[in-house]
Symmetry: C2
Subunit: 482 residues, 2 copies
């Protein structure tokens, strides 16, 4: 490698994933150019490669949201303080972390406004105007937007002052219909993670102390990261009639009586990019699921001066016959070894090497990022083999993540067992819980683990609460979490 290559290279050594997972994470995110810090604390820039990944994720999730009957809209960024304050629990939950706008131009505002930390307040104020009759229901609206929460401790993608997300806000005629919606969207999220991002998730109910500020119940999907910590990657909320009552969202029902609507809200954010990194990454960097990878196949010419032009010509032809895939031809003047490392760092699912021997044999050498498997493929077979192999990579990443999670799923009976378990191997720990917040808090104080969720499938016999020993009301899943 020439010194010229060194100067413009981006492949620095990334921190060891087994020694310092947190440094590894930040190193990968920055060196793969997914995102970077800015001068304003907690505000990140999503760089083109990271944004292309997000755009692909968005496209899949948006299609799923629309396929379940929802439409997109766009509500204002700014929320007057009096609106935010209407629902008591809601404002209490969010006030400590909202950004307040006090001046517009050179003038002080009569009433300060906040940048939306979430949009229930502004959206409910409009639903109250729009909804008159049972014929206007259900209202099934989603928006893609940025939100701001003034966080004390931040980390790229996982917890940032500003983040991007989608937030669904729906209104229904009956309680049952609203609960059904919250559960349906949880399933949409589960399938999005499993099928598009190759991330297995657990579904369940949050404990009351972990629910969304203003909700009646919060449901969630949780994934296990490669350091054994849990990450909440999506939530859906049964809002009951809490917001309907304070924002006066009523409708005239068929029986001619005025009723409050039943509501839900649900969201998935750019945090999901962090989940992809921490679920699939390895010591060499990212491993991206083909379905969302900005580049699915990279072609790397192995150049020798005498066959330079011929090689480029051959590579271009390979690119052309693969036009149905997202293909990049790396014709930069870096060395092949450098390019291999760089595209591994970037997590490109398949690499096609083209050297003199490949050209002689009318083939390319295909290398899988997930397994490292390397084999020659005849040009005539290439589109079919690529299609098939991308599917295999997608499945293999899911399989590995599922195996990892299963190996890190335990059943414990006492606080001591949980504490010891977490010291030994971090992961999801099932344990019986009486349902009391005192025991929940005790676990948190002693082990730093929280109840991630209460699974929908509950065993008939729960056993005794891991803390107080009283009858378990729930089987809960505990973990240390992001």
């Amino acid at each position: 490698m020439s010194t010229d290559d060194m100067k413009k290279g981006s492949v620095e050594v990334i921190p060891d994933i087994n020694e310092d997972f947190s440094a590894w994470y930040t190193g990968v995110v920055r060196q793969a150019k997914l995102a970077d810090y800015t001068t304003l604390k907690g505000c990140m820039v999503i760089r083109p490669y990271g944004y292309a990944l997000w755009e692909n994720m968005q496209a899949h999730l948006d299609a799923r949201i629309k396929a379940t009957g929802h439409v997109n809209a766009y509500f204002p960024l700014l929320i007057p303080e009096s609106l935010l304050a209407k629902e008591a629990e809601h404002v209490q939950g969010f006030a400590p972390e909202v950004a307040w706008v006090t001046h517009g131009g050179e003038k002080e505002l009569e009433e300060r406004v906040c940048i939306r930390p979430t949009s229930e307040a502004i959206i409910c104020s409009l639903y109250s105007k729009w909804i008159q009759s049972y014929r206007d229901l259900p209202v099934l609206i989603n928006q893609w937007a940025n939100v701001v929460r003034w966080e004390k401790v931040t980390r790229l993608f996982l917890r940032t002052t500003e983040f991007l997300w989608q937030e669904g806000h729906t209104c229904h005629r009956t309680e049952a219909e609203a609960i059904n919606e919250a559960l349906k969207m949880l399933e949409v999220y589960e399938r999005f993670y499993a099928e598009d991002l190759a991330i297995p998730v657990l579904k369940g109910l949050k404990s009351q102390s972990e629910k969304f500020a203003g909700a009646r119940d919060t449901f969630c999907v949780e994934a296990l990261m490669k350091d054994g910590r849990a990450l909440q990657v999506g939530t859906t909320h049964d809002l009951g009639q809490h917001f309907a009552k304070v924002f006066d969202i009523t409708f005239l029902d068929e029986d001619e009586s005025q009723k409050y609507v039943w509501q839900t809200s649900w969201g998935v954010s750019t945090r999901s990019v962090g989940a992809v990194v921490m679920t699939h990454g390895d010591e060499r960097g990212l491993r991206l699921p083909p379905r969302i990878a900005p580049v699915q196949v990279v072609i790397v010419p192995i150049l020798f001066d005498r066959s330079r032009e011929e090689t480029f010509h051959y590579c271009s032809y390979v690119g052309e016959i693969l036009s149905e895939f997202r293909v990049e031809l790396d014709d930069s003047d870096k060395s092949p070894g450098w390019k291999f490392s760089e595209h591994e760092l970037r997590g490109v699912p398949l690499r096609l090497e083209v050297g003199p021997r490949d050209m002689e044999g009318d083939q390319v050498t295909m290398v899988r990022r997930d397994t490292g498997e390397k084999r020659p493929v005849l040009i005539e077979d290439l589109p079919g083999v690529i299609k098939e192999t991308l599917d295999l990579v997608q499945d293999e990443l899911y399989r590995q993540a599922l195996v990892y999670r299963e190996e890190r799923t335990f059943r414990v009976k006492t606080l001591a067992e949980l504490s010891d378990g977490l010291e030994e191997v971090r992961g999801f720990h099932h344990a019986p819980w009486c349902g009391d917040v005192i025991c929940e808090t005790r676990v948190k104080e002693e082990t730093k683990a929280t109840i991630r969720l209460l699974p929908f499938d509950q065993p008939e016999e729960k056993g005794a609460c891991l803390v107080c020993g009283k009858d378990g009301r729930w089987e809960a899943i505990f973990a240390r979490a992001y």
Copy 2:
């Protein structure tokens, strides 16, 4: 129409387009449910139908931006005051209209931050870190984002406190390359408006007094609305090295010397939705170009009790064979006449009526929104005829808009002629201008018209300045504008 229909109906009478264009505009935007006001002055909500229109526009423009080699990214919403203040002209231009965040949660911030009114400052601060060598150039990045400008007078889509847009920000090695980029993107905008939105635009240079704060030159595309007023629908800026110098964006060139980059920026916003309304709308409401219409074809069953089920069945079949188009079947229980008005108000390009006679004849009755033309089409011919007719509608809307603009384009020689001309018929008025801001201001004061642009095609002989009589340096195009 039953009273029940009346109660849930949305077709109110819209104001007369010829009597009060401004009231007509607001009426159409609100009654077609494109957008609505919120409790916060100047902040609008884009409702699902309006947002679907914007999504289609976005998809076309995004594809054009990517096809010209640009990639998307996402930069922070918040800009520290010190960054915004770096480029003197820039801060002077924007400070009077930015929203200032002074508190994060319960704490006052050490330095206040503004919500981006545009992103040059934050983006340049990052480019300065990212760009090292000539090999890093060009940087061709775009972002889709919301921005906030505290406007005193607001109007739905045309001038709102918050709006959505795309903003491109590029860095180049040479001056010529940067200017070429600014002109290329202007052409991308021109084609987007002409081909996707059916809006003919004029391209040209802004006068120095109308340019973007911080730019060396601003280029623009301008369209003529149906009240004879001009609307600036897109701008591209040659930023020269103004920002590069204050943000220290340098690169090591091949000749081993450090140089400042040359930059451009360019944007198109949700204002373009307003342009679609005011270019194509008529006394009955919207007329949407098929390429961007959320619904291209609406099927309206003409129901009689005895053939009710049969009619729905027939309509569903029609919907199925048109699956390549964006089709809506209106199976609500409103009367046919009501539905006709409603879908005309919403600007759906084609309506297919299905009544007993249509079913007998294996046909539908197709009605064009743009011309009102009505004719039977055999089911077997339907997909082909729809495809063809949608293209015809797209072309016809463009043709009508072009004819309108040509009929409203004049050539005047003196300020008096301009003034009289504007009183008689508003439109684009070509006139010679000496290039002096004093004359430009005089025109504005006397006629309320501004220089919309200086066309690229300049006549050799310009004649005498319409105000001072000195030699014309430019042929300028004047109009009253939004």
